[in-house]
């Protein structure tokens, strides 16, 4: 037998009661189910029965209410519950990043120091060697020139590493 307005009104009353309980419980699964039930009511009710379109409007309004409660719970209340820990974690990771950056900088400094020490020593030794070479002989001249070039090369590397 075809449903009357009263049948539909009675069905909707039950659904609205379920929706109210689901929202009061703030249970997402229950709210989702209640939302689906109201959507099914709108889809299945016969709009040709006088007054049913108005019942559909009531159901539709209630669906939006359910959606708002679902959104409020998920996007506000649930997020708020964990917000206090965030600032502490941000600080923790930022501090560690600073420690890591310091370690990397120290490593780079150590690298510069190591290279600089070695280069300074090498250049000093080469200078001593250059000063000791007799430049009056052809081989001596050649060696002094080679040493100058080598000193320049080492100094260039030292500068490059230091920057």
């Amino acid at each position: 037998m075809a449903k009357t307005f009263d049948d539909y009104a009675s069905d909707l009353e039950v659904l609205l009661g379920g929706a109210h309980d689901a929202m009061a419980a703030r249970d997402d699964a229950l709210m989702k189910a209640a939302h689906g039930d109201l959507a099914a009511f709108i889809a299945e009710s016969n709009d040709l029965v006088p007054g049913v379109i108005e019942l559909d409007d009531v159901a539709s309004h209630s669906m939006r209410d359910i959606t708002l409660v679902r959104l409020g719970k998920a996007l506000d209340e649930d997020l708020d519950a964990t917000s206090a820990d965030l600032a502490r974690l941000v600080k923790q990771f930022s501090n560690q990043a600073a420690v890591n950056d310091s370690a990397a900088a120290a490593l780079r400094l150590e690298r510069v120091k190591a290279v600089t020490d070695a280069a300074i020593t090498a250049v000093d030794e080469m200078k001593k060697l250059r000063d000791a070479v007799d430049e009056t002989t052809p081989d001596g001249k050649k060696l002094v020139k080679a040493l100058r070039d080598a000193i320049d090369a080492v100094v260039a590397v030292q500068k490059a590493v230091a920057t």
Binding site: L71, L89, F93, V99, A103, R111, A114, A119, T121, D139
Partner: protein
């Protein structure tokens, strides 16, 4: 070997040996980790923009009171999420600092090799007159090698110890952000459920889409009923025709005429209902298409959020594995994390392509 060259060799070795450590430990490659962190951080930020955009669209045509409530939720959500964005930024900064340590360690080797190269040039020069220079070159190369090992060892140890200390926080951050993304997925699911009804509530002329759909449903049912009736009348016509053939009386002739007339009327009504069905389907087609598009878009958005959420657990696990690999000098596998990052990129691309369509 001249005294000068001997001094040169000794001092060269000494300079490197001073900074060299005994054990060799190469820092693991953390670039994949940093890249995945970047993808995860990007998806955390994208999630906020996605939800905010969907919320605005969702409530656009709602009654004033409900629209204002939706706007208030959107504002609270943005405020809450900015703290998640800050954590995502901190994770990015942290992963960049891990890369900086590894790079500093590896650049140590490059610098040492560069200096060794210049010594080689020196040795070549000295070799013009002094053959023992080859020994100096070998010594300097050894020094460079020792320094490289020191730099890598220092980087690996610093990296491993630092990451091990941070592991509880990495786990906590991963869990907290995953929970937050779950909340977003729930919110997007609520939007997906509602946005379909929003379309159903739109007006086509004076009627709601849901009423037009109701009409379509009634027409479909009428068509099924009519087809059933038509088949029954057709059967009755066949029987009347057979009856007339075997008993040709005025009564059987009248029965056949009545059945034929009923069949004709039914076929005419079926044709009329078919035409109405086509019209009704055409009216609803653009709304159906929008509902399908909305459903597809929101499903992709939810999938992206869930992938990022699951990726956070993989991220924390990779963090632990890198720390262990650095400390225990073991090869590192973070393929699962790389795969997650790849998935996130693909979903984000699909989402962008869908929005352009």
């Amino acid at each position: 070997m001249t005294p000068s060259l001997a001094r040169l060799r000794r001092s060269g070795i000494l300079a490197f040996a001073l900074v060299a450590a005994g054990a060799c430990r190469t820092p693991p490659d953390v670039s994949s980790f940093a890249s995945a962190t970047s993808d995860l951080a990007a998806s955390i930020k994208t999630s906020e923009r996605t939800v905010s955009a969907e919320l605005t669209t969702l409530a656009k045509a709602w009654p004033k009171e409900q629209k204002e409530l939706a706007a208030s939720i959107a504002a609270s959500f943005q405020r809450q999420w900015s703290a998640r964005d800050a954590l995502a930024d901190a994770l990015l900064e942290y992963s960049a600092s891990l890369v900086a340590i590894v790079q500093a360690g590896n650049e140590g080797e490059q610098s040492a090799r560069a200096l060794a190269g210049s010594f080689q040039q020196l040795c070549s020069a000295i070799d013009v007159a002094m053959p023992p220079a080859g020994a100096v070159e070998a010594a300097v190369n050894l020094g460079a090698s020792l320094y490289a090992k020191f730099a890598q060892h220092y980087a690996a140890t610093t990296l491993g110890e630092g990451m091990r200390e941070m592991q509880p926080y990495a786990d906590e951050a991963s869990k907290l952000l995953a929970g937050s993304l779950s909340s977003i997925a729930t919110g997007l699911d609520a939007i997906r459920d509602q946005i379909r009804q929003n379309v159903e509530d739109e007006l086509v002329g004076d009627e709601k889409v849901s009423s037009e759909r109701n009409r379509l449903k009634v027409l479909r049912k009428r068509r099924v009923d009519l087809l059933g009736e038509t088949e029954a009348v057709r059967e009755r016509t066949r029987a009347a025709r057979a009856d007339l053939a075997s008993h040709p009386t005025a009564e059987t002739e009248k029965s056949l005429a009545q059945a034929g007339s009923a069949l004709s009327a039914l076929e005419s009504e079926v044709a009329s209902v078919e035409a109405s069905l086509q019209t009704q389907t055409a009216i609803l087609a653009p709304y159906d298409a929008r509902e399908t598009d909305d459903e597809r878009r929101l499903s992709t958005e939810i999938e992206l959020v869930m992938t990022a959420r699951d990726g956070l657990a993989t991220w924390a696990s990779a963090h632990a594995r890198i720390a262990t690999a650095a400390l225990e000098k073991r090869p590192l596998q973070v393929d699962d994390l790389v795969q997650t990052a790849q998935q996130i990129r693909e979903l984000a691309r699909a989402l962008q392509a869908g929005r352009k369509d």
